[in-house]
Amino acid sequence: MRWKRARAGLGGELYAHLLDQRDACVAEGMDEEAAIAESLRQMGDPVDVGTQLDRVHRPKPQWGALALVGLLLLIGCALSVSLRRVAAADPMLSAPAYYEQRWIIYALVGSAVLLLAYFWDYTSLGRRPLVFFGGGTAALCWLWTHSLLFNGARYQAKYYILFAPVLMALLLYGLRSKKWLGFVACLGASAAFVLAALCIPSVACALLVGMTCVLLTLVALWRGWLGLSQKQAAGLTCGWGAAALALFLLIGARCGDYFRHRIYAVLHPETDPLGRGYLPTVIRALLRGAKWTGEGDLGEVARALGQSTSAVETLLPEIPSDFMLTWVIYRFGLLAGLALVGLLTALIVWMFRKALRQQGMLGCLLSLSAACVLGIQLVLYTAQNLGLSLFGALSLPLLSYGRYTVVNLALIGLALSVFREERLPGQNGLSVRRAGNAEKALIFWRDGDLVIGLSRLRKQ
């Protein structure tokens, strides 16, 4: 077998088989040495066995996903160049070159991080998951407290907090089968991460972190990885949902006017088109004036705002980071916007499906955390760029400008590392036998014996 990491997992199973065979031979009257020799003979030709196992156990390169990520990065780079050229052609527009230069730097650094994560042995996290969780959380706290404060917000903390779901996955794995203790600890950790996001302050980050932590915990509950039964899992799910909703309403009530005005601005932007409703008004007018292909019409915007304008780049702030999708739809057409969202959706849906098919708990939760973070970013960004900016947006993964590119590429690399090694034997050794299996029944088979659980009869 050429894949060295696969040998360890297989070795245990084959060794156990050898021991069973040896014990059987000894039971038939052979001495120890003869029994061992016979067991080895029964295994077959070692070269033949190794060759057959090598055919089955090989890393699974994720060429398709890597190609798609590369394509998206190239598109993002092209869009950044295109935006700068459009802005440079109009003397009324400022077009800082650093957006393009920094985008390329972030893409290159992020690509290096993706490849590092892709070839790295993610299972090493599983050897000391609680240690990695503790270290990661401590690093997150340090980075959070040392983030630069700008306009009352810790903008850099928004990047770091996106790794919180990965830490949550490690905590869940470290507390597998700990039942109520595990569940309460995970609940506490997810609440702490959400609070940290709210203190940035960023409702979008809090929503992303909260939803991802909830999803990861629900998956762990339903698959029996926390050692609780299906009924208990159902009860916890309902209880958790009710508690989260109550908390959200409480925060909304305490924040008072802020949320009400924000919701009203989204629902009726026309009541204050130059104030709170400006961005939804402009975005929706741009979308109404957009064509299926080619540049749109600014007439709708002029009618909506009651004033003329010469370039879309003067209407929207921070296009490279916050409104790239709206700009693409206006400049290149609806089809171009749909294509971009479609490509990203395809990548993220593929990641979700692969993640949920993982048999091993650690691989499933890590890849699922990455898929969730990317998916929620896409949903929030698309909503904002369609004029439904209730929570603000973080990034359009791999396409918009910002250090989120590095974070997103690191998460994609981690997920692809899991998918690449899904053939690693012994992965299912990282999964815990589910609660509620056959042996919970009154009558079941074990090692050829029919077992009747009389103690369960008494309990019943």
Partner: protein, 113 residues
């Protein structure tokens, strides 16, 4: 009789999946069960069994888990999935058609069916 390579080729996965259909088993148990039920006709080597099991697992027809309950050492058990059950039914059907065809040839005569 050792029919490891010739007799079992092409049918080993069907036989193993049939055993797993009845209950979850570990590797050595499957070899012993197969040997006993076939009256020592099928003597599957461990070096053939494990690549086969891992290949079935990779296709999603079986899953595996560790279980140490009631045993001297932890063992890796295999379980037939729903997809594996479907595949097994198809294989059974193909085997029955094959066996009927062979019987007709061996018994000779016209087939009015």
């Amino acid at each position: 009789m050792d029919m490891d390579k010739s007799g079992l080729s092409g049918s080993a996965d069907m036989l193993i999946m049939t055993l797993l259909r009845e209950r979850d088993m570990y590797g050595y148990q499957m070899i012993e069960d197969l040997r006993r039920r076939s009256d020592h006709t099928f003597d599957l080597k461990a070096g053939t069994l494990y690549p086969l099991l891992h290949s079935l697992e990779e296709k999603g027809w079986v899953t595996s888990y560790q279980d140490a309950a009631g045993a001297a050492r932890p063992r890796k058990y295999y379980h037939l999935t729903d997809a594996g059950g479907e595949r097994l039914r198809e294989k059974w059907e193909r085997w029955r058609r094959y066996a009927r065809a062979v019987d007709r040839v061996l018994e000779g005569g016209e087939c009015f069916g």
